[in-house]
Structures are given as C-alpha cells and as structure tokens.
C-alpha cells in the first residue's frame, strides 16, 4: 500500500475531526471557565496530576512484552531518561534498538 497517495477513509476523517474538536475544547475550556466559575482546589490538583498519569499509562504497556530486544531497549531508555533530556533519550533509545537488531548473536 502506498501511503503517499492513500486518502483517509470516512472513519479516519471522523476520528481526526473528533480528536481536533476534543483538543480545541481543552484549549478553550480554561478561558470559558475562568470567566464564570473558579476551579476548585481539588479539581486543579487532579488536572495538574493528569498529564503524567497519561504519559506513564502510554509508556507502561510497552513493557508488557516477551520481546527481549524491546525490553532491553526500554530499560536503556529509562536509564538515559533519568539523566538526559527528551531529544537525547529518543535518539539514544532508537539507536540502541537499531543496534540490537543488527547484532548477530541476538537475532
């Protein structure tokens, strides 16, 4: 399948429109709310906690695998992420995994 010339199907277009609408709503809700009610302390606390909860929920399932190369690379990514910034972590993890794929004794 040539991804360059393929057009999205109806479901894909719908999914993206829903996604865009949801994202825009998150952007404008803060403005809309502030002119009416004040966010309670508890709600602010939950909202502040939410991004990291989401990020870790996306990362965790990758660890549920029996693929040794994947597990080694994920462990490597964790070690790098503890010390280095975002760009370094991604590039180092990709390079490490690429290297594992080309090591003869692992394949």
């Amino acid at each position: 399948m040539d991804l360059l010339t393929t057009l999205p199907n109806h479901f894909e277009v719908l999914a993206i429109l829903v996604m865009a609408a949801v994202t825009y709503s998150t952007r404008i809700i803060g403005y809309a709310l502030l002119s009416k009610v004040k966010l309670s302390k508890r709600v602010r606390y939950v909202l502040e906690a939410s991004p990291c909860c989401v990020m870790i929920s996306i990362a965790t399932p990758y660890f549920i695998t029996s693929d040794l190369k994947m597990l080694l690379s994920l462990g490597f990514a964790v070690l790098i992420a503890l010390k280095f910034n975002f760009a370094v972590t991604v590039i180092a993890a990709v390079a490490f995994n690429g290297l594992l794929h080309h090591l003869p004794f692992l394949s």
Partner: protein, 238 residues
C-alpha cells in the same frame, strides 16, 4: 510606559522561537515516520497535525490507530493528555481582555506547551519592564505560527521519508514512541514533593500494566489514566 512596534515584536518572536524549532523538527519527523510505520497515510498524518496541533496526543493516537480507529478511546486519550491545556488556558486568559473574540478563538487554537511557555515568559518580562501592553498578538502569532508550520511540515517530511525507507523497525524506530513517553514521564514527575504526589502516577502505571496484560493496550491508556485521576481526587490536599 513602553510599547514596541510590530516589526520589533515579530523579530523578537522569531528569535525567541528558533531554539524551540530545532527541538520540534526532529520530533515532527519521528511522529511522521511513526505514523507511517503504523500504516497511517501521509494525508491523514498532515491532517491530524494541522487540525489537532498537540504533539503528545498525536503520538498516543498513532499508537492506537487502525483502519477503523477506536474513536471513543481516541477522544478519551486526547482529552486526558491535553487536559493540561485547561489550566494553561486559564493562566493565559487574564491577559487577553483587550483581544477580539475572533483573535481569542485563534490564540487558543495555537496554544501549545511551547507557545504558552514562551508567551508567559514574555508577559512576565514586559510586566517587570513596565510595558503598556504586556500581551502582544504579533509576538504570539509569530511564535505560534512558526511552531505550527514546523510541526506539520516536519511530520509531512517524516511520513514521506518513512514510506521511502520502508520498515523502520530494524532501524530502531519502534523505540521512538515509548522513549518519548518514558522521557515525558520523567520530565513531568513531581520531584522532591513526597510520595503522595507520586501515588496517582504509580497507580496509573500499575493499572495500565494490569489492563494491557489481561485486556489490551488500547484500554490500558484510558483505564490507567482514569485510575490515576481517581487516586489524585481522593489524595488531594484539603
């Protein structure tokens, strides 16, 4: 009272956003390549980046993408990842009182982590230096549009190159997505703030692991995050 002219604001905007562009382009390339790897067509990828313009949610949604995408899960994931915008938007609101409704609508369309952060820094600086107008629409637009164009364009290039390269797995690209979120998790981790603040995150991870082990990955994100939010709600300080 100081007020800078339009050209000065635009020039300062470009200079301020430049380092961010250097960071955002590789990320857009990775996103585009990752999207192609997942079978997302180039047009679809560009459409997503141009209409949605929120990187974190796009990486997550690509991981969930299928020929018939799970729309509810996508909507929930997008909302949860982008819910931080609500707080960001509220912080920006007091400075937009003089703007027209149409401008405000567009300002919020372009609000992303980077644009928000750079503009709040600029607002703080101008407040300190006694400017008559602390929010500059020209500066905001320059920074926002530069990020917007770089993001969509680099995603387009990434997607195109990926289709030429073919399978990215053997080059290690399957690590781009998880490494992104591992790094973002550590970046957002509430450091030195005690176990209580980390509880929701640890709860989310545990729930996500259990769900992906026993159900599937698509539900793990939503249910994991929801678990975290519930824990946060009940452990919030009085």
């Amino acid at each position: 009272m100081i007020k800078d002219c339009l050209a000065t604001e635009i020039k300062r905007g470009l200079l301020t956003v430049m380092p961010m562009i250097i960071g955002i382009v590789p990320l857009g390339l990775i996103l585009g390549a990752q999207a192609s790897h997942q079978g997302m067509a180039t047009v679809t990828t560009v459409m997503m980046t141009a209409l949605n313009f929120a990187g974190g949610s796009e990486f997550a949604v690509i991981a969930l993408w299928e020929a018939i995408p799970p729309i509810l899960v996508i909507a929930l994931t997008t909302f949860l990842i982008n819910s931080r915008h609500i707080i960001m938007g509220a912080t920006l609101a007091p400075y937009l009182k003089d703007q027209s409704p149409l401008r405000i609508a567009f300002i919020y369309f372009l609000m992303c982590d980077e644009n928000w952060a750079l503009n709040l820094l600029e607002i703080q600086r101008k407040t300190k230096e006694n400017y008559s107008q602390v929010f500059s629409f020209a500066f905001y637009l320059t920074v926002g549009l530069s990020l917007y164009i770089s993001w969509s364009l680099s995603a387009f290039i990434g997607s195109t190159l990926a289709s030429l390269i073919g399978d990215l797995k053997s080059y290690g690209f399957e690590l781009a997505c998880p490494a992104t979120f591992i790094s973002l998790t550590f970046g957002m981790w509430p450091k030195k703030q005690g176990l209580k603040k980390a509880l929701p995150i640890l709860g989310a991870a545990t729930a996500a692991a259990i769900v992906s082990f026993s159900l599937n990955q698509a539900y793990a994100v939503g249910l994991g995050a929801l678990t975290g939010l519930i824990i946060a709600f009940f452990t919030a300080p009085k």
